[in-house]
């Protein structure tokens, strides 16, 4: 097993292993410093940050669903300045590789956030959360509009030398088209998936179970859709992919790697088991060793397609 090297590179970003804490599921990282060795993770994607402090939505903010959960936190956050002054130094002290997840309501806000964070010591990369609430570009979110995505990525690209990783929403018809647009706009990598827009209703009160009415579905329930989307994007782009969606075990990590992810983010699993990280790392190492691989990259995108089927792997072909 010692022969296995878990290090991966996501474009300019070198990670000691492919496991990354997903944004919004790990606070600002510092909350977990007591239970998780932050320096042992490939990276930590911190909770989505706006320029200013944000209050977020009223509770109830989460509700459990079959093999998943809905959340509508509303991006409560301390704002970028307090993050840089208060959290970033702690993350550096813990030797965490920090990916900052940024959100704006305008293209300029994204660019401004990128500039501020470029000057802040200890930021490894920027993940662009382009599926936030209240971000309109031609009537839909940046994340659901190719133009919106292109505008945000290009603006951030111009504003920073840091690795730029747009995070794609799964709530679109053709996610691969968004991955291509991100690549063309100069992204260093893409991450996917964000949560699926969903809703649950309390049948006794007939009220939505979330104060915000709708929320994002995460957890094992979405994994098969997320794996499909990572696979589609792998066929469509050459830049690295950070895959995620419902990863709970090392087997799930491997499934995303084989589907085409260069790194794998882990979100909801942190809530179920904050001590999941060592188990994921050991399991991944054991899998690679068992199969005689020395590097993670050996299995990235290594799907073995049955020949006749190869012709049928268009997005249409699966639906009934």
């Amino acid at each position: 097993m010692s022969a296995v090297d878990l290090a991966v590179s996501c474009g300019p970003l070198r990670l000691k292993n492919p496991l990354v804490a997903a944004s919004g599921c790990f606070g600002y990282g510092v909350e977990y410093a007591d239970v998780v060795d932050l320096s042992a993770l490939g990276a930590v994607a911190v909770k989505g940050l706006f320029l200013e402090e944000r209050e977020g939505h009223a509770p109830p903010r989460i509700v459990e669903t079959p093999s998943g959960m809905l959340n509508a936190i509303g991006l409560q956050g301390v704002g970028v300045r307090r993050f840089v002054d208060e959290m970033l130094p702690q993350l550096r002290a813990r030797e965490a590789v920090t990916i900052v997840n940024i959100c704006g309501t305008t293209v300029d806000e994204y660019a401004e956030l990128a500039r501020i964070l470029s000057d802040a010591p200890g930021v490894a990369a920027l993940e662009l959360n382009i599926s936030c609430p209240n971000i309109k570009a031609g009537g839909t979110t940046f994340g659901c509009s190719l133009h919106g995505l292109t505008d945000v990525v290009s603006a951030v690209r111009r504003a920073t030398a840091l690795p730029v990783i747009p995070k794609l929403t799964p709530n679109v018809t053709d996610v691969a088209a968004f991955a291509r647009a991100a690549e063309e706009a100069g992204a260093d990598a893409v991450s996917l998936v964000n949560t699926f827009l969903a809703m649950a209703i309390d049948i006794e009160t007939r009220r939505p179970r979330l104060s915000n009415v709708m929320g994002g579905l995460s957890g094992p329930a979405i994994r098969p859709i997320a794996v499909r989307m990572v696979y589609e994007c792998r066929q469509a782009i050459d830049i690295p992919i950070m895959g995620m969606g419902g990863v709970m075990t090392a087997d799930d990590v491997v499934e995303f790697l084989i589907a085409g992810a260069d790194a794998v983010q882990v979100g909801t699993a942190n809530f179920v088991d904050p001590f999941v990280w060592p188990r994921l790392l050991e399991g991944l190492t054991a899998y690679l060793a068992r199969h005689g691989h020395h590097a993670v990259s050996d299995i990235v995108g290594a799907v073995d397609l049955p020949e006749p089927a190869a012709a049928r792997t268009t997005p249409e072909s699966g639906a009934r």
Partner: protein, 270 residues
């Protein structure tokens, strides 16, 4: 620093059709737990439902030498997991992550400590009673429920020198009415304002906090919002405090000073 133990269920004492007490072999968690702290439990990491559930540390169980051997939780059935916890059998296991959250702050003698519990809101007070006793703080428990079945474990408190005043809404046990009745009455005649601790339904805690404020007593309440992680990671458990900020009750609570809570907002959220 919380730890996660796959704790053996040592016993399951079903007190009624809705209440039971589970004894869990989690010595390290028990040893570290302070009054008012909680644990996040889940039966099997792989099994449904997905998320853990928060439970107050009820008793810290000790061997004859007084060393912690485990902890118990007082469980009330209201849904999927609480039903499953009611059905657990000795020999099965329960994952137990903790201790978590902010504990009660101990009042010191000669001041008195009054605990006000509504139903399963009794849970955080067993450990508090032990601590008060060790600190030689005279303690009273005002304990209310809908009916007599909602009142459990009162002898446990009496045996530890706690004065107990019972109320039931249907009058089937103790004084009839709400627990705030006897509390208000007692506050009216109290020589010096006691420190008041409350846990129970939101309207009850709100009323208690208001009474305490009126009579110049400091109060602490233990809130029970839905919690997704218990570690500050998910921001699901926020409560609005006076001044408007939303804070995570798993980190800054579950215990808050009664005066700090924006009770209007909390009522709205429920």
């Amino acid at each position: 620093m919380p730890i996660d133990v796959d704790a053996l269920v040592m016993s399951n004492d079903r007190l009624s059709a809705t209440y039971n007490v589970l004894e869990l072999a989690a010595p390290e968690v028990a040893a570290a737990a302070r009054p008012g702290q909680f644990v996040m439990v889940k039966q099997n990491l792989a099994a449904a439902p997905l998320l853990r559930r928060p439970f107050s540390v009820f008793e810290v169980l000790r061997d004859e030498r007084g060393d912690p051997v485990g902890l118990s939780i007082l469980n009330k059935r209201i849904g999927i997991v609480t039903d499953a916890l009611y059905a657990l059998e000795p020999g099965q296991r329960l994952r137990c992550l903790g201790p978590l959250g902010r504990a009660f702050s101990l009042s010191s003698p000669p001041g008195e400590a009054w605990m006000v519990a509504g139903g399963v809101g009794l849970a955080p007070f067993a450990t508090l009673a032990e601590a008060l006793r060790a600190a030689q703080v005279p303690a009273t428990l005002f304990y209310g429920g809908r009916s007599s079945e909602d009142l459990v474990y009162e002898d446990w408190f009496r045996q530890r020198g706690v004065r107990v005043r019972l109320t039931t809404e249907d009058g089937s046990r103790g004084e009839s009415g709400l627990v705030t009745g006897p509390l208000e009455q007692a506050l009216g005649t109290a020589a010096t304002p006691p420190t008041i601790y409350a846990c129970g339904p939101t309207p009850m805690m709100r009323a208690v906090a208001a009474l305490a404020h009126e009579h110049g007593s400091p109060s602490e309440v233990s809130l029970e919002p839905v919690m997704g992680c218990g570690l500050g990671g998910c921001y699901s458990c926020v409560v609005r405090i006076r001044g408007g900020r939303l804070v995570r009750s798993c980190l800054h609570g579950p215990v808050f000073a009664g005066d700090r809570i924006d009770w209007d907002a909390l009522a709205g959220a429920a």
